[in-house]
Symmetry: C2
Subunit: 292 residues, 2 copies
Amino acid sequence: MARIIKVAAIQTAYDLNLDANIKKTAGFIREAAGQGAQVVLPSELFQGPYFCVTQEEHWFATAHPWREHPCVTALAPLAAELGIVLPISIYEREGPHYFNSVVMIDADGSPMGVYRKSHIPDGPGYQEKYYFRPGDTGFCVWDTRFGKVGVGICWDQWYPEAARAMALMGAEVLFYPTAIGSEPHDETLDTAAPWRRAMQGHAVSNVIPVVGANRTGFEPWAGYPGGGQRFYGSSFIADHRGDLVAEFGKDEEGVLAAEFDLDFLTTHRAAWGFFRDRRTDLYGALSGPRPA
Amino acid sequence: MARIIKVAAIQTAYDLNLDANIKKTAGFIREAAGQGAQVVLPSELFQGPYFCVTQEEHWFATAHPWREHPCVTALAPLAAELGIVLPISIYEREGPHYFNSVVMIDADGSPMGVYRKSHIPDGPGYQEKYYFRPGDTGFCVWDTRFGKVGVGICWDQWYPEAARAMALMGAEVLFYPTAIGSEPHDETLDTAAPWRRAMQGHAVSNVIPVVGANRTGFEPWAGYPGGGQRFYGSSFIADHRGDLVAEFGKDEEGVLAAEFDLDFLTTHRAAWGFFRDRRTDLYGALSGPRPA
């Protein structure tokens, strides 16, 4: 019997109300499960607004140890109830360390562990180096009830190294929770198309489906250029060729879902030959210092 | 004064007549130079038909030491005459070794060296492992009169590792001569879109323009499924966002050209921050054995 996996992405807007954000996310998770989805991806840091637009000390107080994070304690039981896998993006505190993390919940509601975002961006509107220590878990692939899945977090999605590493670890689908939108320093800069293209490239080069869930909506910030940040949605599910088999526009809220045949993909990936022909003897420069 | 580079790709069909193929290519090179192009990319192995569709011993006799290859001896003087850089794709013989190579000719007609294709494909219609030893040069970036350029060859283009390695070596534009088209074992399989997407992904992830030159036309092979192989053209020039700034359809012949501001790109690449935030401590798996 073929291993078919149905995956889903949630695209929605969030605000300051944690409980309302969790409730909204839970509603879309139920909707996705109702459509038969087995792995459901909410977007990045759905606990509140994307607070990294500025540097303000009080946001550190919204981080929690991952087992106690309110998004985890609220949604892990839902995963068990629905029998689905949930990658839950949180602001994590571990002692004096603060991470941008994903807690992986298996379909029985049990936590499989935590992945901490490896690549931390920094730029106007995305002050993440102030809030997050670069992840110390390395890339993670989770052997869930429905297949082996890799999860990167937002900025990780621009790195072919992260996608490749997860594919080498056996990932059969890649998931990327995201929060990206307008650029306050340059209102002409729209990164939605390159954002998708980087991940479509991972899909092709690794012969693997990719799921990207981004937030949408306008989040007001007093004194901020344009009065706040607009997130551009454009969530998608790409197949192993990079074809978009499901996608949202910039402003829609809802659920995307798509099915993949993991056994077909395993054989088809082999037939493409990319992994057969890798020249590991030539890739040392990627993990070493810049070559002379 | 800004460093502006104008690059071009040639898309055309070839046949068994070496002299005619060189003449045809030279004509398009002149046309590109007439448009102001400074680096002009012909497609892969334009010395003849794409002979790798089958395994036939006599094709080994069409390889030559790179300094003596007829494509090099004919076109290097043209590079000097026009004052342009030419990456010349050839079937190379070095003693008992046979490579799929690019000879890099600088704008004064002098050879800068040879790059030997690192990744060698193998599959129905693309029997390259029979004809070519995997390259032993490593990836190469050439400090030409007009900028630092990296050249990969066909199958190399699907590998994010190759693009990243060249970018780390200082490449400012990536070039990929190609010969790709129909798949004799599956006439429904059209790889043109993924072919572009893999390279558009490299453009985004490295904030670098990418030039892909593919052959077009139908090449008859007796006894072959469908009577021969149809090459799908679709040559393109992508900017640093992966946007296609110039492109051909599947059947056109001619020249594509586009200009890029290398100084703008250097600064803009830095501002994106991808290279700032790379986690070389986590990329060891890419060059090592498959992780457990």
